[in-house]
Amino acid sequence: MSLGFFTREALRSMRRNAVPSFAAMVTVLVTVLVLGAFIPLVQAATGAANDVRGKVLLDVYMKTNASKADIARVQGLLQDKTPHVKSVQFVSKQTAYQEQRAKNPAAYDALGSNPLPDAFRVTPDNPDNIGAVLAALTPTSASGARTMIDPSIDLVKNRKDETHKILTVTRFIKLVMGGVAVLLILASILLISNTLRLSMFSRRREVEVMKLVGATDWYIRWPFMIEGVVLGALGGIVAILLLAVVKVALIDSLAGDLSLLSGTKTINFGALIGILLAASVAVSAAGSGLSLRRFLRV
């Protein structure tokens, strides 16, 4: 009645049931491998989506005759009085002119003067709140027409098309990734517990006999649980070794060239190992224990 005895029992049954044990181990291995590759992938994808979403912003154009006082007042208004604003960047007409001229020197040279107004680039705290910011800056008047919150503001533009596209696409990507992640985790759990149940089913007679001889439920269950832990750990470790090889050989050497790999933050490899190992061991042990339940009802 000791851990040593139960461990010996577990090892014995693994030796005598080599094929089902191997199948269970490989199942854990494959699942961990897929999860291990998928978790950083999801993070990279959502990270990239978030990067793009960071580019969602609102342009506030001043009237061309706005004075310095007007500009200061509007800046204060944007920074302190408007909700959901993360940052406000002032783009003077000179800066704007230089930016645009760099893009198309001939056209701007022909103009001779600077037609561009002073402007603010307003970044919302969350891309989804851009509508709220816009509404706050252009309240609807009693007649239903849009008015400006400050008379010196000429126009508030949210680069409608791009914003809309970016928001839908990134939201979609996040949803899909989340859905796939949930499905994958569910599939892993079902796959592992199914394999364990199968190997348990092939041994239900053994359990039945043990019960007839007067073994208590836990006396029967411990060796099975230890077996689950050992198989889960083995599968997990092999999968993690494979992942590490792929990471070192492939990802790290490509990271310099591909912005997707280097640009976004993904989970720390150590933490990933820890999570995967803990999950594989816990799922296998719990799976063995639980799938044994129905055979214990003798």
Binding site: R205, V209, K211, V213, G214, A215, Y219
Partner: protein, 296 residues
């Protein structure tokens, strides 16, 4: 009510009258019925008791309720009605958690041996002791002993599939008895064995009984029952129809004529393929019916 049932002999003279359960009863059934969820009746209103040290045969055709009775005794099934006491203890009072501990006091032998296929003969017997928390030292002392008694000392390290049926059943008997339980149940222990091997197994059970253990054997083996002349309880369709102190498998000797009549199905004994027109069939007709000849 409970108080009077606790001490059934309280208002009786020192020796219980024959036919009534006394303090010596190892097994006591009182009005026990078992109806399965499917509606099938396993046991119907069974009342009997078996005293300490008895050797009892439980006979009856397949489906008569023998196995149900055994299952009730090891608490694999719960009775639908009535009370079962083993060594004076009401089985209904044993909760699920305590069932394993209860089973350790009963040795069981089955027709299909029920050995652990992944363990050697030695380990199979040792498992029964490990379960009860015996130390390795005790196990090393006891297991070879019981295996020698059952004539298996040369097969210690064989796996069950390397043994003959008779040998496997000996292992099963050894495992049932290694804890020296007060009660041994054997459900068709010789059902899969040839007559000669059967005698060996029955001898083992007999010796276990001689050592003071109560033994209940469910069997089809008419030959064995007739020769051993022990107490016989006969069941039919879930009811106990006969309980004799030293009985035969059949209540009376049958003449050849009676036997033939029985085969024809005249005396109410159901014949397996007996249809509505089964009366007065010749053997040839029965053969045709059994093996089917569609051309005719």
């Amino acid at each position: 009510m409970a108080a009077t049932q606790e001490r059934p002999t309280a208002d009786r003279p020192e020796r219980p009258r024959p036919g009534l359960p006394g303090p010596e009863s190892v097994i006591e059934f009182r009005g026990v019925s078992k109806v399965y969820e499917s509606g099938d009746i396993g046991v119907e209103n069974a009342t009997f008791h078996i005293d300490r040290g008895e050797f009892v045969f439980l006979v009856g055709s397949t489906g008569s309720g023998k196995s149900t009775l055994m299952r009730l005794l090891i608490k694999e099934h719960e009775p639908s009605a009535g009370t079962i006491r083993v060594s004076g203890r009401d089985l209904a009072d044993i909760d699920r958690q305590r069932v394993p501990h209860y089973r350790r006091n009963i040795g069981v032998v089955f027709q299909d041996f029920k050995l652990l296929p992944n363990r050697t003969v030695y380990d199979n017997v040792a498992y029964a002791l490990q379960v009860t928390g015996h130390s390795r030292k005790e196990i090393r002392a006891k297991v070879p002993d019981i295996l020698r008694l059952t004539g298996l000392s040369t097969k210690l390290h064989n796996y069950p599939d390397q043994l003959s049926g008779g040998e496997q059943q000996r292992v099963s008997v050894a495992r049932a008895f290694v804890n020296h339980p007060p009660l041994v149940l054997a459900d068709e222990p010789t059902g899969n064995l040839d007559p000669e091997t059967s005698i060996g197994i029955m001898q083992l059970l007999y010796r276990i009984n001689k050592a003071g253990t109560t033994v209940l054997v469910a069997t089809h083996d008419a030959h064995m029952v007739d020769r051993m002349r022990r107490r016989v309880i006969e069941m039919q369709s879930g009811r106990i129809i006969r309980d004799e102190a030293s009985g035969l498998y059949r209540p009376s000797e049958q003449s050849t004529g009676e036997f033939t009549a029985m085969l024809r199905g005249d005396d109410g004994m159901p014949l397996q393929r007996r249809g509505k027109t089964a009366r007065q069939r010749t053997a040839e007709e029965l053969f045709d019916e059994a093996f089917g000849d569609d051309d005719r």
